[in-house]
């Protein structure tokens, strides 16, 4: 600790910097690539561009379909978050607050979703969405996403609700507040930390989802940004600078969001993981 | 067996100075208690002796050897933590044995020392249990056992009894005193509880705001506190502090009299006061009073005393037990 403490600290920092370079290198190369000409990418993929060309970035920003992809993703993600929070919290409230015949069984039933991956039922899910006539609509993505997110949401919500002071309900009950009203007037407002955590978790998952939109969305008008990105990539196979600019512009909101909400993201992803 | 010498020890955390610079001698074989209110730097000082904390200035020597730059394990010390710090995944035996194993002590030697510690601390039947299966007192014993087997020159204790209930605390206090007698080792003990300090120590170090207020034997501190702080910190109930004019002195600012050194009389005396609350403890009675001239006062009288609330009584301090302090709060001879 004392002797060689400095050497050890230097070793630690250099290891950390090497790993950081491994992590950031591809991201930096991507962002810089969007400023370069295709020829320059070929000769100088990592370094700073000789001249900063804004045309690729501007071209994408002026492209209405880029905004349509982002808009679709945003609407789908927000609605998924809203539905998951509302439906999940309502169910978790019942499990936390009311004892009734079969409640444990129903709770275990709803937790089954924790066990298996999304992809297992993707084919029948596609048929179900098709038969419901909602193929190519936002709901085709929102409803299955919500359904698959419910298990973890209910588990986390119930744990949190059970830790709210029981006297609060009793006091409100004595004042004539019923179960349903208590949920909306007390439980939900008091649960903002867990709502925020689950909300960010669900948002990130929905925002990044690829497989489900790929299966249930067919028209470009309905495409979410991951689909749009693959579409773009397909159209500009060799124009790496355009593709890189596109990628940069789509991951930029994610990075900004991550920096702003990192507390909830880390809590949701690791805390949720540990509890799940 | 070792003494501890601290010379010009200073410690800051960032820009916050916790210990401005202090000297202390802990004699070989003594039971020295560092006592003071929370935040006075006593735990930091103990951690500096242990080597867990590096002083920003000054030197630490143990057994005549400068150890300021040595690892904790190379200082010939052992430490018992407030939280016990037992390894939850190891059995009692493994917990006690851990340090010996790290030091590559031969197996038969290790076995002998663990068995010996277990015998002294009555842990024989618990050796295969995990800490989670032990009571607070048993955990405390394991923590002590872990420090005994290392056969250190200096034992360090960081508020070891504060997590125990009152009855257990008294019992462990006695056991600690016995341990000290048996090993004859130097013990440095941190606490905020002045009762623990008075009963355990042969040398008490009273700290306040990062500096030492007074070092001395328990009765010395009780009888001749060097500052107002020590006077009010040591002793329970607290010493009364009054303006010096109450005892007819103009050369001092304050006069201090312990509650047990004030006589209470219904008919006549020096000060008139009104009874506020009477606490009958059986063996003695603590009376809280309010004096119009000098504010609140506390008096302790032997035996049972029946006094009505709001009764007016006369108080007289024993003159040989009046302590005088100057404007800086320092004792006048």
């Amino acid at each position: 600790m004392m002797k060689g403490g400095l050497a050890r600290e230097l070793l630690r920092l250099s290891v950390l910097c090497i790993v950081a370079a491994f992590v950031l290198g591809p991201l930096v190369a991507t962002a810089l690539g969007g400023f370069k000409s295709n020829l320059e990418i070929r000769t100088n993929p990592m370094g700073l561009p000789a001249s900063w060309e804004l045309t690729h970035y501007l071209g994408i920003i002026r492209d209405p379909s880029f905004w349509s992809y982002l808009g679709n993703s945003l609407v789908i993600s927000l609605l998924t978050v809203f539905l998951t929070l509302l439906v999940g919290a309502a169910a978790a409230y019942v499990f936390a607050q009311i004892r009734f015949f079969g409640s444990r069984l129903l709770f275990s039933y709803l937790l089954l979703g924790l066990m298996f991956p999304f992809a297992t039922a993707i084919l029948p899910l596609f048929l179900k969405v098709r038969d419901l006539g909602i193929l190519d609509t936002y709901w085709a993505v929102i409803l299955p996403q919500t359904a698959f997110g419910l298990s973890l949401a209910i588990l986390l919500f119930r744990t949190f609700f059970e830790q709210l002071p029981r006297e609060l309900f009793e006091a409100a009950y004595v004042d004539g507040c019923g179960y349903v009203r208590f949920f909306f007037r007390f439980t939900l407002p008091l649960s903002t930390p867990i709502l925020a955590t689950v909300g960010t978790f669900v948002f990130v998952q929905s925002w990044n989802n690829f497989l489900l939109p790929l299966v249930v969305l067919n028209s470009r008008e309905a495409f979410t940004w991951p689909l749009g990105m693959m579409q773009f990539r397909g159209e500009y196979m060799t124009a790496w600078n355009l593709v890189l600019a596109f990628v940069t512009l789509t991951i930029l909101p994610a990075i900004v969001f991550f920096l702003a909400a990192q507390k909830y993201i880390v809590a949701g992803l690791t805390g949720g993981a540990v509890k799940g | 067996m070792a003494d501890v010498q601290l010379r010009q020890i200073a410690k800051s955390f960032g820009s916050v100075e916790v210990i401005p610079g202090l000297d202390l001698d802990i004699p070989d074989g003594s039971f020295t208690v560092l006592v003071g209110p929370s935040g006075c730097g006593k735990s930091t000082l103990l951690r500096i002796i242990s080597g867990l904390e590096r002083p920003t200035g000054g030197n630490v020597s143990i057994g005549g050897r400068d150890v300021t730059r040595d690892e904790p394990s190379k200082r010939g010390i052992s430490m018992v933590f407030q939280s016990y710090a037992l390894y939850p995944h190891m059995t009692v035996a493994q917990n006690i044995d851990f340090g010996l194993r790290l030091a590559k002590t031969p197996a038969d030697e290790r076995e002998r020392r663990v068995a010996e510690a277990a015998r002294i601390l009555h842990l024989e039947s618990l050796l295969d249990r995990k800490p989670a299966e032990l009571s607070g007192g048993q955990r405390q014993r394991v923590a002590i056992g872990r420090s005994i087997v290392r056969e250190p020159g200096v034992f360090l204790f960081d508020e070891p009894l504060s997590n125990l209930d009152a009855a257990l605390r008294t019992q462990m206090r006695i056991e600690l005193a016995q341990l000290h007698e048996r090993f004859d080792a130097t013990m440095v003990y941190v606490t905020h509880d002045q009762v623990e300090a008075m009963t355990l120590a042969d040398q008490i170090v009273v700290m306040n705001g990062g500096s030492i207020e007074q070092v001395g034997a328990p009765m010395e501190l009780y009888e001749r506190p060097r500052t107002e702080f020590v006077a009010t910190f040591i002793g329970s109930p607290k010493m009364n502090l009054l303006p010096a004019r109450a005892v007819g002195r103009s050369d001092a600012r304050n006069a201090g009299v312990r509650p047990e050194h004030i006589r209470l009389d219904k008919n006549g005396g020096d000060w008139l006061a009104e009874v506020v609350v009477v606490e009958n403890l059986g063996s003695d009675t603590v009376v809280y009073l309010e004096s119009e001239d000098f504010g609140p006062l506390t008096v302790r009288v032997a035996g049972h005393q029946s006094l009505a609330s709001r009764a007016r009584v006369w108080l007289t301090p024993e003159p040989e037990h009046v302590h005088l302090f100057d404007a800086d709060g320092v004792r006048l001879p």
Partner: protein, 304 residues
């Protein structure tokens, strides 16, 4: 408190009046309906369709028994997919998790520098898999990307690692480690911060070197977190899909298929509902098996 036992009608009446019944009837069904409709029913249907040869139109009529399963288990591409999944698990357990643990030990203490590194290492995890795949397909591109830059600098021929049957999957595993090690690291960091500092200090006093503390105190105490992270690594390996699509799309010559890309390529995109469902069922059984194993394993670890 009344001591007269409540009759059944009385109890029902009270439950109705205090709104408990309304609450259950109002708040629970949305979750139950959504979950059943989009999770449980499709899963059950998978179990049925797996025994049919069906293109998804009309009613499944062509009952084929276990033929779908037989074809799958006899298919060399499926073998490759399974083997690739196993490789992913091994890389996660043997490379990714030790790397994540080492880094976690380096930066679990709360200092500003550590917070920055934590943020950087965690960043890839929140990026979309599909974007990560695209970024790395640029890195690996033999004509343009970083790989091209390296071969160019050494004057070599353009080399396409993603087109090389032997090395393509190694490249994919690199991307997987890049994407997910930060997640595992965060789990370990949370656990390490929960280890009482006293225990570390006590060990130091007893002469433990940094590595002794790691081995004898910290790792044993964060074992539950390590188990959780192993569980997620294995379940995650079963699901790898998004990253593969932009990188190799399962190629070259199916050498980088995983179970889910296999399901997609040979079931979904050819509308072989029966065959795809059979693959889904195998995936489901594997997930259940892992969950059960994990339960057993973690219970035993806790009780020990």
């Amino acid at each position: 408190m009344s001591t007269i036992p409540e009759s059944f009608p009385e109890r029902v009446g009270r439950t109705l009046r205090d709104g408990r019944f309304t609450a259950v009837i109002l708040l629970l069904p949305p979750a139950l309906v959504l979950f059943s409709l989009f999770v449980i029913v499709p899963l059950a249907e998978s179990g049925r369709y797996a025994f049919f040869d069906w293109n998804g139109y009309g009613e499944p009529a062509d009952w084929v028994g276990f033929e779908n399963f037989e074809r799958m288990f006899g298919h060399s591409v499926f073998h490759q997919a399974i083997w690739n999944t196993i490789k992913l698990v091994l890389v996660s357990l043997l490379v990714q998790m030790p790397l994540a643990l080492a880094l976690a030990l380096m930066i679990y203490r709360k200092t500003p520098t550590n917070a920055v590194f934590r943020l950087i290492f965690f960043l890839p995890f929140i990026l979309a898999e599909i974007a990560a795949g695209l970024i790395w397909s640029f890195v690996f591109d033999g004509n343009y990307g970083v790989a091209a830059g390296i071969t160019h600098a050494f004057g070599g021929e353009p080399y396409f690692v993603l087109g090389d049957r032997t090395w393509a999957f190694v490249a994919i595993m690199t991307v997987i480690v890049w994407k997910y090690f930060g997640f595992h690291m965060m789990i370990y960091i949370a656990a390490l911060q929960g280890v009482p500092q006293d225990l570390v200090e006590a060990a130091k006093i007893e002469g433990a070197k940094t590595l002794d503390v790691v081995r004898h105190v910290q790792i044993p105490l964060i074992k539950p977190a390590i188990m959780v992270s192993a569980f997620f690594a294995i379940i995650g390996a079963l699901q790898v899909f998004d990253v593969i699509i932009p990188l190799t799309n399962g190629g070259p010559s199916n050498s980088t298929q995983t179970v889910v890309t296999y399901l997609y390529t040979f079931g979904l995109s050819r509308l072989k509902i029966g065959f795809g469902s059979a693959v889904g069922i195998v995936l489901f059984l594997a997930a259940v098996l892992i969950a059960v194993f994990y339960q057993r394993f973690s219970n035993r670890a806790v009780s020990r």
